[in-house]
Each structure stands twice: as C-alpha cells, then as structure tokens.
C-alpha cells in the first residue's frame, strides 16, 4: 500500500470527524478569527470611548502593552458620552415658532433622526425598486431574461467610491447636471439638488437604491424562481388576476428571503458614509449628516478619538439593537427563539 493511501487511512481514523459534539471545532476557527479582527477592535473602541484619546497620546508608549493601556490617554469616564448626547441645545422649530428648547446635543440628535429617516425611506425605495426589477426580469413574457439579469447586476462590480463620485456628478445643481438635463428635457425646471435639504436627501436615497439594488435583485430573483409555478396556476384557475396573484401567491412566498435582504440592506443604509460625504459632506449645512458622517466630522477630522469612539459605540448599539430585533422577529436564524 502506498504511503499516500496509508496517510488517507490515517485521516479516516481521525476520531472526532465522526462525533457530533466535537463539530464545534469546525466552527471555532472562523469564530475566533472573526472575534479577533472584529470584536477586539470593538472592545478596544469601547475602551477608548472612556478616555480622552487623541493621536498625540494614544500612540505614546512602546510595544504591545501600550495597546492595553491606550497609550497615555487618560480616563475621563462618561464625559464623551454626555458630551455627545447632551452638550448644547436642540430647538424644536415649527412654522418659524420655537416650540421648545431641549438641553441635548442638537447636532447629534438631528443626525440620529436623519439617519433613521434615511433608513426608512431608502429601504422602502430599495425594496420597491428591486422587487419591480426582479419581477420584470423574471416575467413570463420577457425574452432574454438571463442576459438582462447579468447586465443588471453590473453596478455591484464597480467600487462604491467611484460610483458615488459619478452620482455626485449626476446630481449636480448646474443646468448641465445629468439629472437636471433630464428634468429640463422633460420640460421641468432644474433643481439645486445638493443645496436643498430634502432634494439632497432624495439624491442620497436614489443613489443608495441604485447601489443596493443588484444584491436585492439577485436575492429576490432567486426567491421568485423558487415560487412553485403550480401555486400560480392554482390561483389562475381560482380566478385570480395578476395583482391578486402577486399579493396572494408571490409576495407571501418570497417574504422570507426578501425580508432577510431588507434587514441586511437597512443595516447598510444605517452605516452609509460615502454618499453623504462625497455628495455634500452631509449638507447642506450639516442638515443631512448621517450618523457615521457625524462621527467622522465631529471626531476624526479633529482627531478626537475618544469622542469619535463614543459616537461609534452609540451608533453600534443602535444598529445592534435594530438587527437583534429584526433577526428575532424575522426568525432568521433557525431556532433562534431558544437561543
């Protein structure tokens, strides 16, 4: 018998491959690497958020030990958090009247609110758009579907930083910006896209939807292809028209995967940085600063790492809670209820 097959025999005899309990060993490497590279920085970030860390003091000291002491940064307790949340004031203005003034950090809470609004609107837009596209490119009557589907996911292959820069050009307020050219060729006036708060917000949404649709579409398409044709036929024989079938057969059948994609994509929306940053730095006048941009502007641009960390941690908490709720509610992990 050759050495190779003797070696093969040896592997065959490895005892734990057969055992159920030891299967944990298969999962641990991934879990470990993930924790090392993702969770450790998070823990580190939490640590920093309680200090006055800045480039000057954070990197002081030598060797690995100084990682654990955060260089020479000093512990400042919850100061970063209180500053982020409660520093300054927030005035609620309605129809030009100042309704009330709250002792909270207006900028932060504005950013916080805009972020959630963005999540809500962009996710709605993304779902509607992707569902529409997916339905079209799986339509019975459409020829060349596969080819179209291949083409349609192309935006996924371009680096986001590039496409976003391009969309910045599309939404130029100039008369010759692409969006404006299209509007004026339709006989509508031009729009100062990035200079008006809600127009800019709309532009973010459109761009976000365009960036995210390929992923959503492929998930939706594969879900649609798994809808048994017989269900549609049964509904047809039952007398259901196109829309009835869509609501009574298609939608319930693809609910699960689409929900999953939705949750993923809403987390992505929550963390959107490049779009507002490249478009107008969360403008006009910081009105549309999404939370990550806010953290970046407040902290990183001025090298206040401690404060930046605090903002990130707050954001992380919210996104974590959001995901947790959704995963639980959407029962995405099997048997999650007893986890």
């Amino acid at each position: 018998m050759s050495t190779a097959s003797r070696f093969a025999r040896r592997i065959e005899e490895v005892p734990f491959l057969d055992k159920q309990d030891t299967s944990l060993l298969f999962v641990l490497p991934g879990l470990f690497v993930f924790s090392a590279f993702m969770l450790f920085p998070v823990v580190y970030l939490i640590g920093i958020s309680f200090t006055d860390a800045a480039p000057g003091n954070l990197f002081a000291g030598e060797g690995a030990l100084s990682v654990l002491t955060f260089g020479e940064a000093t512990f400042v307790g919850l100061q970063n958090y209180t500053e982020v949340l409660f520093e300054g004031t927030f005035t609620v203005v309605l129809f030009g009247e100042t309704l009330l003034t709250l002792p909270i950090n207006g900028r932060f809470w504005n950013s916080f609110g805009v972020t959630w609004l963005f999540v809500a609107t962009s996710v709605t837009l993304k779902i509607a758009l992707s569902l529409g596209i997916a339905l079209v490119v799986t339509g019975d009557r459409v020829r060349g579907k596969r080819f179209m589907r291949s083409l349609i996911i192309l935006p996924m292959g371009l680096p986001a930083i590039f496409t976003i820069t391009v969309w910045r050009g599309i939404f130029s307020s100039a008369q010759f910006g692409l969006a404006n050219q299209i509007l004026s060729s339709l006989g509508l006036g031009t729009v100062s896209w990035l200079s008006e708060r809600w127009m800019a917000f709309l532009a973010y949404n459109v761009t976000e939807a365009w960036l995210a649709y390929p992923f959503m579409v492929i998930i939706t398409v594969s879900a649609l292809q798994d809808v048994p044709a017989e269900l549609h036929e049964a509904a047809m024989v039952d007398g259901a028209g196109y829309f009835s079938r869509f609501f009574h057969v298609t939608l319930p059948s693809i609910k699960k995967p689409v929900l999953f994609a939705t949750i993923l994509t809403s987390a992505a929306s929550f963390q959107q940085f490049l779009i507002p940053y490249v478009f107008n730095e969360g403008g006009p006048a910081r009105a549309n600063e999404l939370i990550v941009v806010y953290g970046y502007r407040e902290a990183l641009a001025f090298s206040e790492y401690g404060r930046g960390a605090a903002i990130s941690i707050i954001a992380l908490l919210f996104i974590g809670a959001f995901m947790w709720l959704n995963v639980k509610r959407g029962k995405l992990a099997d048997g999650v209820s007893d986890a």
Binding site: L17, V27, M38, F40, G144, L158, P159, D226, V292
Partner: protein
C-alpha cells in the same frame, strides 16, 4: 478535480448557449411568424411578448445609464468629463481608447498578425492589431489599433490613437489587489466551509447561539468598518502589521465569515441528507463524504461565497487605504489616488474603474446562475 472539470464544462455550455441564443431567437421568431401567417395563432400573444421584452429592455437601459455615461466619459479622450456643459450626448464625439490604453499600459505580449484566408479566393484578412498596441503603449502609431486590411486594401483605418506616455500604475495595483483578494478567498473558504458544514449537518453545543450571532453580525461586521477604523488601525499599528497585505486579507476574511458561513450553511441545508447517507453506506469515511459529495453538490453555494469573498477583497476601499502603505495600494485605492485635490481626470478615472470592474462583470455574467441558485433561501425556516 471533477469540480473544476464540471465548472469548465458548464462555462463552455454557457458560452455555447450565449452564442446560440440569437439563432434560437431567430428560429423562435420564424416559427411564431409562420404560425401567425397560417392563422394558427393569434398575433396578440407574440405582440404582448414583444411589448414586455421591449419594456424590460427600456428598464435595463435606464438602470445602466450611469454606467453607459461613465463609458462615454472614458471613451471621450483625456479631456472627457461627466460634467459636460455641452448637453447630453449619447455618443462620444471622437471616440478614443487612449484613456484605456493609459490604464492598461504596456503589456508584454509578443507581436503577432492574425491572417484569415478567405476561402476560394486569394484574399486574406489581416488583423495586424495587437503587436504594437500591447507591446508598448508609448510607441503606438496612429492607425495601428483596430486597423483592418484586406491585402493591401484598407477596410478600416483604425482608431485615433497616439502614443501614450506614462501609463497608470494599474498593473502594480492589480497585482496588489490579487495578492490581497486571493488569500482573502483562501482564508475565508478555509474558515467558512467547515463551519457551514458543521452548522448545517451536526448538532452540537452552542450551535444555535453561534448561528444567531452570525445572523446578527452579517451586516454589522462589514459596514461599520469606518467606525471601527480607529480601533482597528490602532491595534494594527501597535502590532506592527498595518502595512501587510496578508494581515489585510485576514481582516477581510474575518469580516466575510458571518454572512458567508450563514449563506453556505443555508445552502447546504438544502442538500438532501440521503446523498450523504448513500456515501456512508457505500463505505466512505467522513472526509471523503465531504470532498466527494457535499462540496461538489454545494457548487452553487461555494461559487456565491467565492464571489462574495473575492469582492470583499477586490473592492474594499476605506480600510485598505488606511492600513496599506503606498507600495501596497490595491486597485480601489489606486483608483481613488487619481483624484487630486480639486479635480478628477474623468476619462482616466472612468477608464480605470471600468477596466477594474470588467473582470468582475465577466465573472458575474457566467456565475450568475450559480449565484442565483446559491442565494436561494427557500430552505429557510419560518
């Protein structure tokens, strides 16, 4: 082995199908028209089909318009810009490949002529294209690219291309990207495959908890990259591994673990257990069961995971830019370094981006059916 074989065959099939698609379509059309002529079928149905197809095409073109727009910018010579005050143009005024040549730079491909003899005549079509274009872009002569000649009779004079000086660093970035993306894929696969198999097929302590955590972290992990950047950067710097491509690969692989493990696990859930049982009864030891049965059957899932992890390494910008030193810049960072403080050289920028994305687009085109199959969550509980 057989896996690669299979993929090769599928690719061939795909290519063949793609090539035959127009023929099929023509046959289809002929049959339909014939049937209508004979009065067997009413023309309403085919017309509806035509309408739906045209509608879908319009939608697709609208969606892809930004990409087309970029392409135009890339083709309109060095001066191209997406901020063009000259109004909406659907075609570049004087198409030029210079930006693309600038991106690609010199390619050391030996010169060759393709001569195709026209049957039954003395004529030969000579494509004298690539020898200069790809050997040395700085020595390109006018009219050497795309020149089409029939004997001494010129059919097409070639594109307007002049010498290209100082081509971009695309190839170096490309090499860097590959050295980041390939280890990323390998490491990620090594972490993901065993884990998804165990999560899908075995029952063990903490299984559900781990699954739950993975689903929870599918997106949080990747997206918060920016927020985590400080922490990550500090740690990397303190450990002295910040300028290591391998360390970056490991990081990418780590971020890819939750989502892809979960994805592959879901896919494997859909593979009937009886295949595995058949193999066991056939006397196969566990590792052979996995390599001979589970992995080949997971091809679509693996392809999806492969592409997703590859893309992570290929397109990620922020972390790469922060961690890597200039010698190790990957393509996205290289692309962004074209942007100077005030202005963007749009033609080159676009050409660079499209060249960068082209391989991925091709892979997509062929892997599409696997990805669609691999992303199928019909086995999802609920």
């Amino acid at each position: 082995m057989s896996l690669l074989d299979g993929i090769g065959r599928k690719l061939k099939e795909d290519a063949q199908n793609a090539a035959e698609a127009p023929i099929d379509a023509a046959r289809d059309a002929r049959y339909t028209v014939g049937a209508i002529r004979r009065g067997e079928t009413s023309p309403v149905e085919p017309l509806k089909t035509l309408g739906a197809t045209v509608g879908a095409l319009v939608l697709v073109s609208l969606l892809l318009f930004p990409i087309y727009w970029i392409l135009i910018a890339g083709l309109s010579g060095t001066g191209g810009s997406i901020y063009s005050s000259g109004g909406l143009r659907l075609f570049p005024e004087s198409p030029s490949f210079v930006p693309f040549l600038w991106v690609v730079g010199d390619l050391i491909v030996p010169a060759y002529d393709i001569t195709v003899n026209v049957p039954l005549t003395d004529l030969a079509v000579v494509f004298s294209t690539p020898q200069l274009a790809f050997l040395d872009v700085s020595a390109i002569q006018q009219g050497t690219v795309g020149r089409l000649a029939l004997g001494s009779f010129e059919l097409f004079p070639g594109f307007a291309v002049g010498p290209v000086e100082n081509p971009s660093g695309f190839k170096a970035f490309f090499a860097n990207s590959l050295t980041v993306a390939i280890p990323t894929v390998i490491i990620a696969m090594a972490l993901i495959i065993p884990a998804s198999y165990a999560l899908s097929r075995r029952e063990f302590i903490f299984r559900r908890k781990i699954l739950f955590v993975y689903v929870l972290l599918t997106q949080v992990g990747g997206g918060l990259g920016i927020a985590l950047l400080i922490g990550l950067y500090t740690v990397y710097v303190q450990l002295g591994i910040n300028d290591s491509k391998l360390a970056l690969s490991v990081y990418y692989a780590a971020t890819a673990v939750p989502f892809n493990t979960w994805l592959l696990k879901t896919y494997m859930d859909g593979i009937p257990v009886s295949y595995e049982e058949a193999a066991v009864v056939d006397g196969a030891p566990p590792w052979r069961v996995v390599t001979e049965v589970i992995l080949p059957l997971s091809a679509a899932g693996l392809a999806t995971v492969f592409i997703f992890t590859f893309l992570t390494g290929w397109t990620e910008f922020v972390v790469a830019q922060t961690l890597l030193g200039t010698d190790n810049y990957t393509l996205p960072v290289g692309l962004y370094s074209l942007v100077s403080e005030y202005s963007i050289p749009w033609a080159r920028f676009s050409a660079f981006a499209l060249t960068f994305a082209a391989p991925i687009m091709l892979v997509y085109l062929f892997a599409q059916r696997y990805i669609e199959g691999g992303l199928s969550f019909s086995g999802m509980e609920g």
